[in-house]
Symmetry: D3
Subunit: 246 residues, 6 copies
């Protein structure tokens, strides 16, 4: 028998997703992404410079920053904590995920700075940020391509992230905050359009979990990501396909 | 003969203003305010505590923070500079302005934290932040009033801010970034519904200015603020009037 | 009927000013300035380098820092707070004021660092700092001129600052701390030798103020600044006139 | 055909492990742990206080810090970077892992501070730190138990960590630095004595990875952890079994 | 044959000393002390609180801070470096020296904060600071005594500091900067009115030094300190003698 | 009659010293040094760059850092305090001491970074660090010599440090923490193989001390250092003699 979710969703059902592409004027790519009540602004800006370890290699870099705005949660988060350990952990994960599908050689020697600011946090902010960051990155790369500044293909595949977890013994897709805060097992999964994994972070802080649970959670995540990537494809439009060498 | 403004505005014409009240779920009062291409998120959160110098006085406090998000301008602003001298100067000005119309005694011993984050900066961000902060503060105070937590009146008057400046010898209202960056004289003005001044900051970094210019700039600012406050009244609705003891 | 000032001054009377020019050995220009019990050390040092945004423009820069020494007030101010928001706001104002009368092109590609340290704070520290900084800057520019390192004119006009405010309904010139701490309206004004304005900062944190009050306060400030600039002229001596192209 | 490992190990072979328990005099539990050339000092100290969110709940806390000493790698790491994003990510993972097997209620209102300092880094430092931290934690809890300060059971299970990865298409156990730096897929796995998972972090920064690869990597990790936990049991001795309620 | 000193002094001659006691209005004790061109402001402020390790012991504390103002040397010292390692080393030495002659039990549970700011640095700033700090401390303690807030004796002895060093093989007293910068051996010595040592810091960064040289340097320092303490006695006046139990 | 030392040592007896040379794999020179229960890791790493003030002079530099690891003392020291004033004072002393016997010209334009981390602190950590740092430096220089990268002689003499102090009126050599914490007078002495002094830091925070006490303490320190340097010679071996030009 299934657990009853607060908002009436099925265990394997995503929250409604809303995306406003090119949300910002000065960023090279950006969006405002909402998953249920979670709301994230993602923006990509281009710097014609790479970190020291890449100098004179012809290779580019993608670097991400993540921040919870002070009013994103029920209790105000002082700005000084915005670069907390949690934020650092998350922004490293976003950066790795994006680099996992980007052809850095094709970028040329430039850095794409990806900022993800959470306006409202109702669970799943880091995976929403991965999805929003990927959309913004794609828009940015399309502009760079139009300006003749990147080689093709510059992206290996589509990318999206989702959270899954076990609540009262039941694996659930896309946890909101009320679910996340009582989950015994908590996973963040990032996958590609071909269904391969790019990043998986799972923790059983409440209790250890078995290989079988892991399987079920990854299946659930896979289902969710497939739907999100379908949304991404239609949102980005067919003209972006050439970035992927298609 | 008049200078021709990039967007066709008259010298004494405001940019279009758009406000989404209660933009955020967890804040006690909030809005997304746009003036032309300038876009600011304002949020007020309540902390049941006052700074040390107010302890056991029965009086409350209003404290503001202002930050430029990294993608708000054409060149990315590193997050570490978000608490720059400029931001500190601005947030002190926002705080003073709000306290200038708030009856702190009526607040009780609590602090209202007002956050103003600039999503997009096309000039006039600090005065847009004053206006947005005032709207959010009013929404927050209305909720506190409904919950029986503040005395009335808790606000002395309506409040709004606007920038004015002299460009190519011509006083202009509500400068956008392209105007602001070449202005010889630059003013930020905060006024009340009765047309009194709460804060005035003027600087002639390009060249000194005369008392006559000051007069003309304040007249221009007064015109603009009158229109903004009319918009505030209609936006907030009549039921908020009691906060002002009306 | 006039308010009675603690030290017997008239409403439009300055405190006694004492200046020791070239107070310091290593600075290119410096002074110890006292206005009543307020005491500020100002020093200018030359760096043969400009901030990045001015590189290769042939133009120089003036940058100010302001700090309250720990023993400047009745309660010790920890050193860590010396770069507080208040200090940042003030040093930005000092920098803008000085740049307002300096011909940056004539400076050549160098930065003049102006430090203002308050040894004793009895009100009006920021405007005393503007006056002391201007005197030190002039001494420094005179030395640079003698060494053939700046073009003439390098200064547009004399400069001084003063505070004015409304205490118990009475506009007062040059507030000491006991007056400042109860002032309903509080102004800092920076003007030139020709009586033009360079910077005006006014705040009605206690209550809003009218245009008429603004007029009266600016008149009062203008009177005071005229006297201070007369003192500056006599102190600096006639040989400095050539810096102003006279 | 198998890849040839630099040190002649089989793909599923651990590096030699050496542990010196109670390595430090003042810590309540500590060890020096070596896995091949990787060398970590782990120490647990007791503070009779909990973080604010646990006050008056009767529940304790385990908090971990991880740091790379400046001479741990071939190029010196400045001390200021020791609290880098990478360190923060790692210490959060160590803390979660330890809390995953600790009965926090049984601890009483105290915090166990776990420090992990890497003297020498030749790959696998974070999982070596998990193993060393668990051993130190157990020694500390045994002392607290002897002093009558914790309830039993205070540990749910044994715990160890190991890294696995894919190098030149070959899944390998316990990567050294030369292997880790060329791995396409990189996993850190923390498991219990019963073979359940507590933490799994996998990233395909080089390229995405399939569910099958994930399976094989987890099998490899499981084998390795089984051996490490056998070592832990014999090292800790039978008298520690009662901490686990056995 | 003796080395010729720039200012014509003998090897064992002090620079002229000038002291302005009670230099500051808000500090409980203060002075402006000049030794030749070195100029230091010292101030003592009272806080009715002690550091945690002294709570409820009835014992007081003396804590010193030392800072080089940005214009104190020929090249401007950025403010951020004012809490450099050098400053920290020096302020710890000043604090220890003062505590060495203060009867902390007699102080009661309060902290005396001693600030030493160097306006102009021409060598010997740290020992000038010790002397100036001692004078300020004595003035402060005299006021506390008058107010009935300390027991007597509260000071064990007079205190002063001086630098000595070896330049071109010649031991010299009270080095100015031009001497200090070429000294092979460099000593800072703090002694009491009875000629006992409180602090000695000697370093042979240029070359090691012998026990004989140490003897000669300490003799030289002893001579100098005797003179400084005679000056202190006459400056402080006979009424201060009771602080020392005389 | 002599004071009885906790561990049965005579007043002029050192604690047992144990050194493991080349303790670390990646450092160019390193050791683990134990003096009784005090345990310090010292490591030297080479950077092919000098601080700005030495650029293009052909001269090298030696820079030291000292840190107390969080578990080094009975109460945990938060990592943030690891760069405390005390640490800064100590690392400056270690750096000066090493430079006192190093021929910086012979080093070439490179910096030797010397890190000293205290694993366990039972008194005398800073002088143990000097001794350990000297041993590590010598090993590093020997490697640089073998690689033909330094001129000879590159060291002027052997170097070691020791603490001495007065406990209950009795001068003692090599104080442990229980002795150090009650010592009235406290000295750290660094001497060379020829018995000359490089650094002496003495403080009478408990009470002033006489010249006679100073003599006795330095004699005691001299005895101890002679023994430590004999140990260093035998440990380093005869082949290192050429670094000293022997």
């Amino acid at each position: 028998m299934e657990i009853k979710r607060k908002d009436g969703r099925l265990a394997n059902q995503l929250r409604p997703i809303k995306v406003e592409l090119d949300y910002l004027k000065y960023a090279a790519g950006s969006c405002l992404l909402e998953m249920g009540e979670t709301r994230v602004v993602c923006a990509v800006m281009v710097e014609e410079k790479v970190p020291p370890f890449l100098k004179d290699t012809g290779t580019g870099w993608v670097s991400a920053e993540y921040s919870l705005l002070p009013y994103a949660t029920t209790t105000r988060v002082p700005r000084s904590s915005s670069q907390s350990g949690r934020s650092q952990e998350i922004q490293r994960m976003i950066g790795r995920s994006l680099r996992g599908v980007t052809v850095l050689k094709a970028l040329g020697e430039r850095t794409l700075w990806v900022d993800c600011d959470v306006l409202q946090a109702d669970g799943g902010t880091r995976t929403a940020a991965v999805t929003g960051a990927f959309l913004s990155l794609t828009m940015c790369l399309f502009r760079l391509h139009r300006a003749g500044q990147v080689k093709l293909p510059v992206l290996r595949d589509y990318l999206a992230g989702i959270s899954v977890g076990v609540v009262q013994g039941q694996p659930l897709l896309d946890l909101d905050y009320s679910e996340d805060s009582v989950a015994a097992v908590d996973f963040n999964v990032v996958m590609t359009g071909r269904g391969e994994l790019v990043e998986i972070q799972g923790t059983g802080e409440g209790r250890p979990f078995s290989r079988e649970e892991l399987e079920r959670l990854l299946n659930l995540a896979g289902e969710g990501i497939k739907k999100i990537i379908a949304m991404e494809r239609s949102l980005l439009g067919e003209d972006k396909a050439l970035l992927f060498g298609q």
